[in-house]
């Protein structure tokens, strides 16, 4: 089975930003321009992360998503500070196909069944930010890596699958933004446990990293940020490796 490419676009106010280890805010461009560029270049999916929940509460989210979804005909996932069924409804009615929720699933896992009963499990991408603490052990952090949870990442993957989420999006905090390759061990462990499709995020720096990932693991999607925003790789080369 083949894997799909996903552009991860983190937005703060009107800029796309990029960090390292989930921190640091370097402005890299205009969100709409970058998203359109990636779509035209053949990206298979777009993940928009609103880093300061700045798009919500104003109707700018609706306008922003509506514009994007009128021009980019690939699946769009939106995330960043989503908490309630109302947030989800708002996101979906604004043009998102899926919602990415991370911190709130830890704080309030009962929201999962509310969401999937209403919209089906395929709408919910459960995000996990994992940090390595020792050999074959990763912990879950929330709030963009700022808050401890006491959860073991692999246990949390299993729990989320039990709760009925549609996909697991796993980000290695250690690899994220470093362009030094994916955390293959983490991905394989998640792969063994998850009964739902996996999206991997964090670490890509070159095509060899992707080749390595494909050779050693099977995941359904890979999200790219740095390599796209800094023009390190082009999308058709990425797609060739994944497909």
């Amino acid at each position: 089975m083949k894997t799909r490419s996903i552009a991860r676009v983190d937005i703060k106010n009107e800029y796309v930003i990029k960090g390292i280890h989930l921190e640091g805010l370097r402005k890299v461009g205009n969100p709409k321009d970058l998203i359109q560029k990636y779509y035209k270049e053949g990206i298979k999916e777009i993940m928009i992360m609103d880093c300061v929940a700045s798009l919500y509460g104003r109707n700018s989210l609706f306008d922003f998503l509506k514009e994007i979804s009128n021009e980019c005909f690939v699946p769009i996932t939106i995330g960043g500070g989503l908490k309630t069924i109302n947030d989800v409804e708002f996101a979906l009615h604004s043009g998102a196909d899926k919602v990415y929720i991370n911190s709130e699933l830890v704080r309030n896992p009962s929201v999962i069944s509310e969401i999937i009963k209403m919209y089906g499990s395929q709408v919910l991408v459960a995000g996990i930010d994992a940090k390595k603490i020792s050999e074959s052990n990763w912990k879950v952090l929330i709030e963009s890596g700022r808050e401890e949870t006491g959860l073991d990442a692999l246990d949390w993957v299993a729990k989320l699958c039990e709760f009925g989420v549609g996909e697991i999006a796993i980000t290695s905090i250690d690899s994220e933004g470093c362009k030094n390759g994916f955390d293959i061990e983490l991905i394989n462990k998640v792969s063994q446990i998850s009964s739902v499709p996996i999206i991997v995020s964090g670490g890509c720096g070159n095509l060899t990293h992707i080749k390595d990932l494909i050779e050693k693991t099977y995941v359904e999607g890979v999200a790219f940020a740095s390599v796209l925003h800094y023009n390190i790789l082009n999308i058709s080369d990425i797609n060739k490796e994944l497909e």
Partner: protein
């Protein structure tokens, strides 16, 4: 003169995507569950994302199940994803539920077919079809259930999920169904949708 395309409003589906795609293609979209509005359209789309029981119940609540059965011979009907599944006799999602019964056959779970991560989510090629598309064209799929038409003549395309072949598209008279989302499959998907509507 723009062609009128009806999109059934029954509370499910990513409506902005399908309506946006149709408008982008130059059609006049009538998003409705009112018979007289939909009757202005030569082609009707039944979209759908979510669970089968909710889908069929929502259609029944607003009488759109009867509308689709009554009006079938008068116009072209295109079912997308859950919309295609609803056309069938019965689904096994969350129990056993009757569908519209417009195509004989059941809707079954991948979980009973193979032991792999479900849903099938990603871009897949089509096989065993006569579409005028390039061999390696891929379309976006996201589904946990697949249709099994009793009559193989209604299968217009198949695809594979971990080496298991399943029905990806159907055609019966003027009724079309696609398990994949042409409105989410990039420019190729849009062209495909357009050629289905226009031909």
């Amino acid at each position: 003169m723009k062609k009128n395309i009806g999109v059934i409003d029954y509370g499910l589906g990513n409506i902005l995507s399908i309506c946006g795609a149709l408008e982008y293609l130059g059609y006049n979209v009538i998003f409705s569950n009112d018979r007289s509005s939909l009757n202005k359209c030569e082609t009707i789309i039944l979209p759908g994302v979510g669970a089968f029981p909710k889908g069929i119940n929502n259609l029944k609540k607003i009488g759109m199940d009867n509308y689709l059965r009554d009006e079938l011979s008068e116009r072209k009907l295109i079912g997308i994803c859950l919309g295609m599944q609803l056309l069938f006799s019965k689904s096994y999602e969350f129990g056993e539920h009757d569908g519209l019964g417009l195509i004989e056959g059941d809707v079954k779970s991948f979980k009973n077919l193979i032991d792999e991560r479900v849903p099938n989510i990603g871009w897949r090629k089509l096989i065993n079809h006569n579409y005028k598309i390039e061999k390696n064209t891929k379309f976006y799929f996201v589904h946990s259930f697949y249709v099994c038409p009793n009559n193989p003549n209604y299968i217009s395309a198949s695809s594979k999920f971990h080496n298991k072949t399943f029905t990806a598209a159907i055609k019966k008279d003027n009724m079309y169904g696609f398990q994949f989302h042409p409105e989410k499959s990039g420019e190729i998907g849009l062209e495909f949708l357009k050629s289905t509507i226009d031909n």
